[in-house]
């Protein structure tokens, strides 16, 4: 089962290496990992999507907590949380195909952020299902490049603030 874990860490160099080597060293699989600053510039948030049964996840949580640079670990799975991913996708688009692509982009509330004589670059945000769906719809036009950020996530407000 997939788990989304939010890890608050000291904003030092080398912390990402510590976290990622913990996963590889213990044979845990990472689906996606994102890092960025938080409201406190000395703290970064890593959002890690990891696959595993309860026993593995319990170990992942404890091992993360054991790292000196980790200040908090929250497994959001089973909680109410918002999860988003950003997609940039460059699609082959001749003049004839443009309007059809733009309709799909509208339906997904995505944006065209770059255009050339034979391509369109689409920006979309959303949960994993939405991102997978828009890629599925645009792929038949011809994919030039895809860049996905991996997921960031946050618990909804009525739970304790994290």
């Amino acid at each position: 089962m997939k788990h989304t874990i939010s890890v608050l860490v000291e904003n030092h160099f080398g912390v990402l290496a510590r976290v990622s080597s913990l996963f590889s060293g213990r044979g845990f699989n990472i689906d996606s990992l994102t890092v960025g600053e938080t409201e406190d510039s000395t703290i970064s948030r890593m959002t890690i999507v990891v696959q595993g049964d309860d026993r593995i996840l319990e170990q992942v949580n404890k091992q993360l907590n054991k790292l000196i640079d980790v200040t908090k670990v929250i497994d959001m799975t089973g909680e109410d949380f918002v999860e988003r991913e950003l997609l940039l996708m460059k699609v082959t688009a001749t003049t004839a195909m443009r309007s059809e692509i733009m309709q799909i982009v509208d339906i997904f509330r995505a944006k065209i952020v770059d255009i050339s004589s034979n391509s369109l670059t689409v920006e979309a945000t959303g949960g994993k299902a939405k991102i997978d769906a828009i890629i599925g719809m645009l792929r038949p036009f011809g994919t030039k490049e895809i860049a996905r950020t991996g997921r960031v996530a946050m618990l909804r407000e009525y739970r304790e603030k994290v």
Binding site: K62, Q63, N65, L67, I68, V70
Partner: protein, 559 residues
């Protein structure tokens, strides 16, 4: 006051109460060694290989309970520490390792003697630092000693670029440490402790399994109090030897692969297993499905990651073993000796550890028994790894914590001799014996120079069978006696090697001479190498074959 980084380092070490530094200098450390030159409070022990410096610091830490400190230069000096750091990490030994590093402007440029030692040691340290500015050095040292020695102890590495040790900064040693991501928890949850007391009251066949955590938290007295109050038999893992006297009526010796049959029987038939500071290593549990199958499992440990990692735990208590045992003893209902105790005593009578004497042959078990008698069970024993380690665990009677020093988790050959050096430095008044094999001893044999230079009267007893004996044993029992790559028939004359370094060497080939040679070594005011020639066929028994249940033990007669 402005000091150089090198001076700040030395002053900081003094603030931490460091009296000994093990290591070897090198290009990027010259400023630090210069600052050390006039220093009276810190003794520098020059080893002949950096690996030995790390093991010696580790042996110092295990013998004294203090943080061991070692130092090595950048590049190869630093990478030579790796095995020692990994050894300390697996056995939760408080160690601070300093490594020199190339100057900050050239880090990452493949400079001469550059290695990314922080990266290399990341998975085998509790934490590590690359100091980028001299003004951060004092705080870094403070944090490193704090992290190494608190919670579940472990090694911390500080990488010191050469320009950082030369530059000047104001020296202010911080009084307190505040690391927001590191708050070790010592108090056990009272509710959980009550549950343990309740489980003890209900249990018919309880067993305590005490590990290295009992030694490192200094909980031996508390353990004894609990065991005696409740008459619960106590088995001690390899790392826990000495935490509970092995000759105590409730003592079961060691469980697991080369444990006693009665300890393994007791664990297997128990209905309550109380593990204290032990982490259910595969060498202890054997086949997991058959490990203590009908027992409720209590696990007292300072490290939450140890709980339910290998064995599912019913009642976890996270915290310091000493405090938890103290509280548990206060609320537990006393129990008199029971049927269970009687049954265990029967097992002990039926199946004691035993070996067959054969005329004219030096038996390693006999040698160790004689060392035990000659030292009245009071020596500090270090071991190498393999058969020598298991015989030393089985046949020496440990009665005090911190007297059995061995690489348990990593199983590092070449550990025992440098660890004995560290132990002897930490406890100069005690007799320190390294029980060695001919294979292991040769992995750090160059340290004979160190014991001579620093006047350390360490005694080495080599169980010389001209084989990598433990692997040979597996080959004999499970691989059709195909002794692939294990013969050490070309080996040195250890007496001559010892003498070449200025150490007394005694060769023993006749069992009649065993005791006299040990007495002679003990009477010698300096290091001695005893070379006991034993039979290559001699094996460690009992033995649980890998992957079998711990009550399926092989004994000599079956093999």
């Amino acid at each position: 006051m402005e000091l150089t980084g090198a001076q700040i380092l030395i002053e900081s070490l003094k603030k931490e109460g460091v009296d000994t530094l093990f290591g070897i200098p090198g290009g990027v450390l010259i400023a630090i060694f210069d600052a050390l030159y006039d220093e009276k409070q810190i003794r520098f022990i020059l080893t002949r290989h950096e690996q030995a410096a790390a093991h010696a610091a580790d042996g110092y830490a295990r013998a004294s309970g203090k943080v061991g400190v070692c130092i090595a230069t950048s590049g190869p000096g630093a990478t030579n520490l790796v095995t020692g750091i990994a050894t300390a990490s697996m056995d939760s030994v408080p160690l601070v390792a300093f490594t020199g590093q190339v100057g900050t402007p050239v880090i990452g440029s493949d400079a001469f003697q550059e290695a990314d030692i922080v990266g290399i040691t990341r998975p085998i340290t509790k934490h590590s630092y690359l100091v980028r500015d001299t003004s951060e050095l004092a705080r870094t040292v403070k944090e490193a000693f704090y992290i190494a020695s608190t919670g579940r102890p472990g090694p911390v590495l500080i990488d010191l670029p050469v320009d950082v040790s030369k530059a000047k900064a104001e020296f202010v040693y911080p009084r307190e440490v505040n690391i927001r991501g590191y708050k070790p928890k010592y108090e056990g949850h009272p509710q959980q402790i009550k549950r343990v007391a309740h489980a003890i009251r209900k249990a018919k066949r309880p067993v305590i399994c005490a590990g290295g955590g009992v030694v490192s938290s200094g909980a031996s007295e508390e353990l004894r109090e609990l065991a005696e109050k409740t008459n619960i038999p106590v088995t001690t893992t390899l790392m826990g030897l000495g935490a509970f006297p092995s000759v105590h009526p409730l003592g079961l010796g060691m469980p697991g692969m080369h444990g006693t049959r009665y300890a393994n029987n007791a664990v297997t038939e128990s209905d309550l297993l109380i593990a204290i500071g032990a982490r259910f290593d595969d060498r202890v549990t054997g086949k997991l499905d058959a490990f203590a199958p009908s027992a409720q499992i209590v696990h007292i440990d300072i490290d939450p990651t140890s709980i339910s990692k290998n064995v599912a735990v019913d009642i976890p208590v996270v915290g310091d073993a000493r405090q938890i045992l103290k509280e548990l003893s206060q609320i537990v209902t006393p129990r008199g000796p029971s049927e269970w105790n009687k049954k265990i005593d029967q097992w002990k009578d039926q199946d004691p550890l035993s070996y067959e004497a054969s005329p004219g042959v030096v038996k390693p078990q006999y040698v160790i028994e004689q060392i035990c008698e000659a030292t009245k069970g009071k020596a500090i024993i270090t071991t190498e790894v393999g058969q020598n380690q298991m015989w030393a665990a089985q046949y020496y009677q440990y009665s005090r914590p911190r007297t059995f020093i061995s690489s348990g988790g990593l199983g590092t050959m070449g550990y025992g001799f440098p660890a004995a050096i560290g132990a002897q430095v930490a406890r100069p008044a005690e007799t320190v014996f390294d029980i060695a094999g001919d294979g292991s001893f040769q992995m750090n044999i160059q340290e004979l120079a160190t014991v001579v230079q620093h006047h350390l009267p360490v005694k080495v007893a080599i169980m010389n069978n001209k084989y990598l004996g433990m692997v040979r044993q597996w080959q004999e029992l499970f691989f059709n006696k195909r002794y692939s790559g294990t013969s050490l028939e070309v080996g040195p004359d250890f007496v001559k090697v010892a003498e070449a370094y200025g150490v007394k060497g005694i060769r023993v080939t006749d069992p009649k001479d065993v005791r006299d040679s040990i007495e002679e070594a003990l009477a010698t005011d300096g290091p001695v190498v005893l070379d006991f020639h034993i039979a290559p066929e001699e094996k460690v028994f009992p033995m649980v074959p890998a992957g079998k249940a711990i009550n399926e033990m092989m004994i000599e007669r079956m093999a």
